[in-house]
Amino acid sequence: MLTYLVRRILYSVPVLLAVSFVTFWGLRITTDPLLKFRNLRNAATILPIQRKRLGLDQPIIVQWWKWLLNALQGDLGVSSRTNGAVGGELIHALGTTMHLVIWGTIISSVVAVSVGVYSAVKQYSIGDYAFTGLSYIGIAMPPFWFALMAIVLLVTWPKVHWDLDQPIFYSIGLHSTDRSGIFNLDYFRHLALPVMTLVVQTIASWSRYMRASMLEVLGADYVRAAKAKGVPRRTVILSHALRNALIPLVTVMALDTAFLFGGLIITEKIYSIPGTGTYFLNALTAGDAPALLGYTLLTGILVITANLIADVLYGVLDPRIRLS
């Protein structure tokens, strides 16, 4: 297992290098690192100095190599927008984003698996049709629209209609001003809508995968054999079928990690959450190449890590799979 993991990590290195170079090259030709200086009234003096300071007078490959060497030492450069260290800013943003990712993944997994199993076991029932319809709506619903509708219907409407002192849910940030911590009511009242926005599409799509996978497993010989032997239905579903049906879903979940991060950009913007999505959006708007590079690298690492975890989970779910 350890050898496998080390080998997979080593395989990831060229992938990350390629990603970083393509991103670096792409950013250099599409963004202007000197943009913020161009509107200064003393731009004519400043621009040559900054061009040299940022190493923009050197070939792209040299610039990338220098960036890479620094990145390997943990220095992702300085944000041209904030003048802060990109590494520190990303870690801080990631800390905030993880609130959404962790809760989002937990809720998506639990709900999607439950719905998928129910739909498969009760195939063609009213409940199955209802969940199928809802999942199509969920998949088709743009997150920004869902987020705004959620705010209108669950924040503004109850507050105005029932003349409440405070809204039931909040739509700005993860805490009220001067409040912090998790596992308190203020936190959950802030967290509810962003997580709901983030998970609506993942629940919809994961539940469909789960249903299909579960149906396939339920029709397998060993399940029929277990039923024929008189194994209780609950045990057949939860112990025999579910575990095997989860394997394809784990693959999809790992691949969807990138999708989840993409969804965060919209979710974090609408709910004013200073996470990696907001960081990316601000960097993109400002043409902040160091920040965008850092974000891309971080996303790449997270996607590779998620896939690695998925590989490990295969072995856990199915002991017949040996990672070597």
């Binding site: 202007d32 509107n39 200064l40 009234r41 003393n42 003096t45 003048n83």
Partner: protein
């Protein structure tokens, strides 16, 4: 004198604004039938007794990148409104006059108006109020003026050194009386804005010898204004009273500016009471909402601003390099109807008729473009006179080329989108083939504009100081060239020696009457040449919960929160 032609302005790009510094003076609602920039729903509550205490939460559309208002963060409008104007003391501040225009007056940092001398060199003497101290109790002195001048004039990353680079020295013989002395032969007519709105005065005893940019990267804890500002990045800027402030002490216990960049979500936050005041961009949904009425709220719509949205024309590109074609374009558009459609619900129904914003009414002819009304016969006469003929497709053509051009604007701005679609249809009927292109703000203002890569661009320019004259935008030597490092603001590439002459007078004269006469003459010439076409004044809008009280009103230069120390909450609670 290299920078004298530039005046502080910013370009409004909607939500993803590329805004440059905002200092602004605001006004509240005005009315009058003959006033082109009047809005209705405005009201303030200045007569109400304001209790002390309470926390006010305000929705903020943008977060600054840093608190270095002297450096590149001077371009952050919201940063300046939230923290800059609240913490940096200013020598002279713009004050609204009875006629709606603004003039600089001495602030409480000074004991009186500064004294201007011009012989043998320009010299201004200030007298600092002996009560004026920083938040740590240290007196504000001449050293602070000298430090500020040194940073702006000689600093590396400076937002705009205009006016400061021609200063020879700040004489601090008397610590309480700074004397600013200009270089021999240098004249700076905009001297009143120095050490004023925008940069103010910075604390020498805390920053001298240090890297200013690094010291302010994450905010700062000093203040020479009514508030101390604490910045929690990504979340909020919180103001608490500066106990050492020598002027009117804040009534509120705390003001929280909650960062919320999504306009639609912010509007819902206001309606649900999560924020009690907002200052939204004048987008169509906001205009509609105000027109329909927002329960338990009040609003001010101020159309007498420093903003001007216009069709900025690249006069170096065919076919718009022809004055007659530009005039024909102007005669093909019913600008009043467009403005009425955009802002009619909040009472703004008449197009702007000057390339100077309203707050410079004294130094401009606000009716110089009034002659350009919809007159298709006139447009046809001008075009046919130039050899253009209408083809079977309905468009004019000459030498096998269709009369057409591209209009660029910022993407994601519904108001501008609506404007351009209407314009495209109207101009099609008039025989112009118009294409619309939406650009990222950074591309439009970072490359297209400076490089002259546009035919016509729709955006707003916002004046951030009471600085007369349009030389920065229309003087020949303000055209971006390699010689000036492509930094000129005359993106229109407009060049006319007569206009140059008048605009030069405004720049170089210290005689206000002479400046006014030259400004009006320049406006007339710009209109005759149809240098660009003004559209609307882009009103400023403040909306607040009825529990928020005080003399609330937009200040077209200093922004909406210039007098936040006088705001309060009913019964000490804003909700």
């Amino acid at each position: 004198m290299t920078d004298k032609r530039k005046r502080p302005l910013r370009i409004v790009a909607g939500i993803a604004s590329l805004a440059i510094l905002a200092s602004a003076c605001g006004s509240d609602k005005k009315s009058g039938d003959d006033n082109p920039t009047t809005a209705p729903a405005a009201s303030t509550t200045s007569s109400v007794e304001v209790p002390t205490g309470g926390t006010l939460t305000i929705g903020a559309e943008q977060e600054p990148d840093c608190f270095d208002w002297i450096g590149s963060c001077g371009g952050s409008s919201w940063g300046y409104w939230m923290a800059g104007v609240q913490t940096t003391p200013a020598a002279l501040t713009p004050e609204k006059q009875a006629d709606g225009t603004y003039q600089y007056v001495a602030s409480n940092l000074l004991t009186g108006e500064p004294v201007l001398e011009t012989d043998p060199v320009q010299k201004v003497t200030y007298e600092i109020n002996p009560d004026a101290v920083w938040s740590d109790g240290v007196a504000i002195t001449c050293d602070d003026f000298e430090y500020t001048w040194d940073q702006v004039a000689n600093g590396e990353d400076v937002y705009d050194p205009t006016g400061y680079t021609d200063i020879e020295k700040v004489d601090c013989t008397d610590p309480s009386s700074p004397v600013v002395v200009w270089k021999k032969g240098a004249v700076y007519s905009g001297w009143k804005q120095l050490f004023g709105a925008g940069y103010g005065v910075w604390p020498s005893h805390l920053l001298k010898g240090k890297d200013r940019n690094a010291e302010t990267k994450d905010g700062y804890d000093w203040s020479g204004g009514p508030w101390l500002a604490k910045w929690t990045k990504g979340d909020n800027v919180t103001l608490t009273p500066n106990d050492k402030y020598w002027g009117t002490k804040p009534k509120l216990e705390k003001v929280v500016f909650k960062i919320q960049s999504d306009t639609a979500a912010q509007f819902q936050s206001f309606k649900s009471g999560q924020v009690q005041a907002i200052y939204p961009q004048p987008q169509l949904d906001v205009i509609d909402a105000i027109g329909a009425g927002i329960p338990k709220s009040k609003s001010v719509v101020n159309a007498q601003t420093g903003s001007l949205e216009a069709l900025w024309i690249n006069t170096s590109r065919a076919p718009l390099d022809s004055v007659e074609v530009r005039q024909a374009l102007a005669y093909s558009i019913d600008r009043d109807t467009i403005v009425k459609q955009l802002f009619g619900k909040v009472g703004v129904e008449k197009a702007a008729n000057s390339l100077n914003p309203f707050i410079l009414a004294e130094f401009s002819d606000q009716e110089s473009f009034a002659g350009y009304k919809l007159d298709l016969a006139k447009a046809e006469e001008l075009l046919t006179g130039e050899g253009w003929a209408k083809g079977s497709d309905g468009f004019y053509a000459k030498d096998g080329k269709t009369l057409g051009f591209e209009i660029k604007t910022t993407e994601g701005n519904k108001r501008r989108q609506t404007t351009l679609i209407a314009l495209q249809q109207v101009l099609k009927q008039a025989g112009f083939d118009v294409k619309i292109t939406f650009r990222k703000a950074g591309d439009l203002f970072g490359t297209d504009g400076p490089n002259g890569d546009f035919d016509v661009a729709l955006y707003a320019q916002v004046l951030t100081a009471i600085t007369p004259g349009l030389c920065g935008q229309f003087c020949t030597d303000s055209i971006p060239t390699a010689a000036n490092g492509s930094t000129g603001n005359n993106w229109q590439r407009f060049s006319d020696p007569d206009v140059d002459e008048q605009l030069e007078i405004i720049e170089s004269s210290l005689d206000a009457d002479k400046q006014k006469a030259a400004a009006k003459a320049a406006d007339k010439l710009l209109a005759e040449n149809m240098a660009s076409l003004p559209l609307d004044p882009l009103p400023n809008i403040i909306i607040w919960n009825e529990t928020v009280i005080g003399p609330i009103g937009d200040q077209a230069v200093l922004g909406p929160f210039w007098n936040l120390n006088e705001w309060g909450c009913t019964a000490g609670k804003c909700a």
